[in-house]
Amino acid sequence: MRPPLLRSSDGVIAGVCAGLAVHLGIKRSWVRIGMAVLTLASGAGILLYAWLWIFVPTAADRAAEAGRQTGPAAFMHGVGTGTLPDGAPAGASGQTARILGDRLHSDPVGPLDADTWRERTLRAGRREVLVGTALLLAAAVLVVQLLGVQLDWGFFVPIAVVVAGAALAWSQLDEVRRARMMNRAGAGRAGGTLRLVAGIVLVVTGVLVALSSNGSWTLTMATLVAVLAVLAGVGLVLAPWGLKFWRDLETERAARVRETERAEIAAHLHDSVLQTLALIQNRADSETDVLRLARAQERELRQWLFADPGRDPGSLAERLRVMAGEIEDLYGHPVAVVAVGDAVLGPAEDALAQAAREAMLNAAKHAGVAVSVYLEAGPDTVEVFVRDRGSGFDPAAVPADRAGIRESIHSRMLRHGGSSELRSDGDGTEVRLRLPRTTESPV
């Protein structure tokens, strides 16, 4: 399949020829030669180039659009990095654009692989090449003049000025698009305005000089004033329209963001909640299955709705919550975790979590009721309590060959400088795990 027609970001001027080459599947140099030849035909090449420059999007543009279409991920990504929800989508799609752009970039299509090295050199020296070309042209003009050919400077200079001004203003087309995607606040907007103003001044000056090259200074000034008056008038008339256009654009952007958000939520509900509800209907006869499904779904949805992006996934509290979830799924009894404070997960804390898991497992397996887990991470000690309201058991009556409590809980805690205690009576069982704080960890 033919790759889409996109301006590439590593072209010499605006990437038109490079993009065209990729699209047509021929070498760039051939496209460039073709353009040059067309230019000789009374400037058709330049017109074609300009036309393509305006109407063909860049690879980054397209990537941003694609990013917007698969918006949810990009949106959530933006939220996840903690940016304000308002600014997030723009930033996110900008990131996506950059990522996709880079991918397109470092992924030249088939036959062009051999050119990579040369492209890189070209890209690096793009500005230098342009400046060099301009200098070469100037040198050629000078040489021609030295050889005795009379050049009409009064004609050439204004033309050059107009072209320079136009180039300056037009070069913004790409910059503005890019800036809008990268950053709505537009850090480079001041620069853009400056460039636009400079371009207008240059073009107006050039046109004036060209028209009044033989006229008087007063006539030039009068013309200038007239031109400015007309421009101001046109500006005045178009301003409301421009404003309205801008506002519509903003509204549309906001609507799209909302739509993206809604689609994300719908997709999530469909993938998780509706599926689970369907499963629950199928298993309606098995109470444990229904309970388990409902609990698992609740946990997942909670995680999705309330999860704090800043929460450290490697913390002790988070570890205990994950373990509690697993045990809930295994046995179908709710395991509620209440955490006060938190600790980073060092080797000792990991052992504590493992011991707590063993205790939760025992409680869910033998007591067969709801299990309460309480974590308190103080400045000196970390304590975990695992409690159930089962019928309890006599610790002394447990056969000596059963390693569960002794090995997995007690010895494990001792090895890491901690301690454990087990209490069991008719009201239930509680395992208490205590670990002195070794590493300084943020609460």
């Binding site: 909670r302 309330f306 704090d308 929460r311 209440v338 006060v340 309480y374």
Partner: protein
């Protein structure tokens, strides 16, 4: 024996009248069915305005109040409590929520709710909680106790009246509740009476409602979930 006279006497009433405020019809009917025979449901409401009207009209002992409600100024359960307080209602509020968000819990407790339980609570437990609230006690779930400990810190303060800290005894009680102990079990563990436990819990509730320390609000907004 007339149940209403008993309720007015302030002793533990044999029948407690409640109003259920929740925007979820299925949940309302489920809760109605789960409540024990000693609880009489006077009415139901689904929005902030409906809740204000029906609470004003029926003056129930206890209002079972969802934290998230449509209507009003968007303040949910906390707004209902504020509105009813302005009308001078004598009903007490028990907040019910599926939300684990500390922000929601603290908002509704500080508005004046006397307890907070999650919606997964069983029928007998909710019945017990309603009776407790009706007799003027506070109802703390393990999670709410965890919130309190996290918000006030786990270091005790010597002065009992200090609003921004918990006393050593209050800390002990909160810890045990967070560990999943009932009031009775807590009392047994600490060798004190259930009545004393209730006093401590009410004191903690008062601190939670009245403490002006700005950390409490900031803490709640920072913790989306615990």
């Amino acid at each position: 024996m007339d149940s209403e006279t008993v309720a007015q006497d302030g002793a533990a009433p044999t029948t407690v009248s409640v109003v259920i405020v929740d925007d979820h019809g299925i949940f309302r009917s489920g809760l109605r069915a789960a409540l024990g025979p000693v609880i009489r449901v006077l009415g139901e409401a689904a929005t902030v305005e409906e809740a204000e009207t029906i609470i004003g009209a029926t003056e129930p002992d206890v209002v079972l109040l969802d934290v998230h409600l449509p209507g009003g100024l968007g303040g949910g359960g906390a707004e209902v409590i504020h509105r009813c307080a302005r009308r001078g209602t004598r009903s007490r509020f028990l907040a019910l929520s599926v939300s684990d968000s500390a922000e929601d819990v603290v908002a509704v407790i500080r508005a004046g709710a006397r307890g907070y339980v999650t919606k997964t609570i069983s029928g007998p437990e909710i019945t017990d909680a309603v009776r407790r609230i009706a007799s003027g006690d506070a109802v703390f779930s393990p999670r709410l106790a965890g919130f309190v400990l996290d918000a006030f810190g786990t270091a005790a303060v010597a002065v009992d009246d200090e609003l921004d800290r918990l006393s050593a005894r209050e800390l002990e009680v909160m810890r045990l509740i967070a560990r999943g102990y009932s009031y009775k079990e807590t009392a047994k563990e600490l060798f004190i009476s259930v009545k004393t436990i209730e006093t401590h819990v009410s004191a903690v509730l008062r601190k939670l409602q009245l403490s002006s320390r700005h950390e409490l609000t900031r803490w709640a907004t920072e913790r989306k979930l615990l």
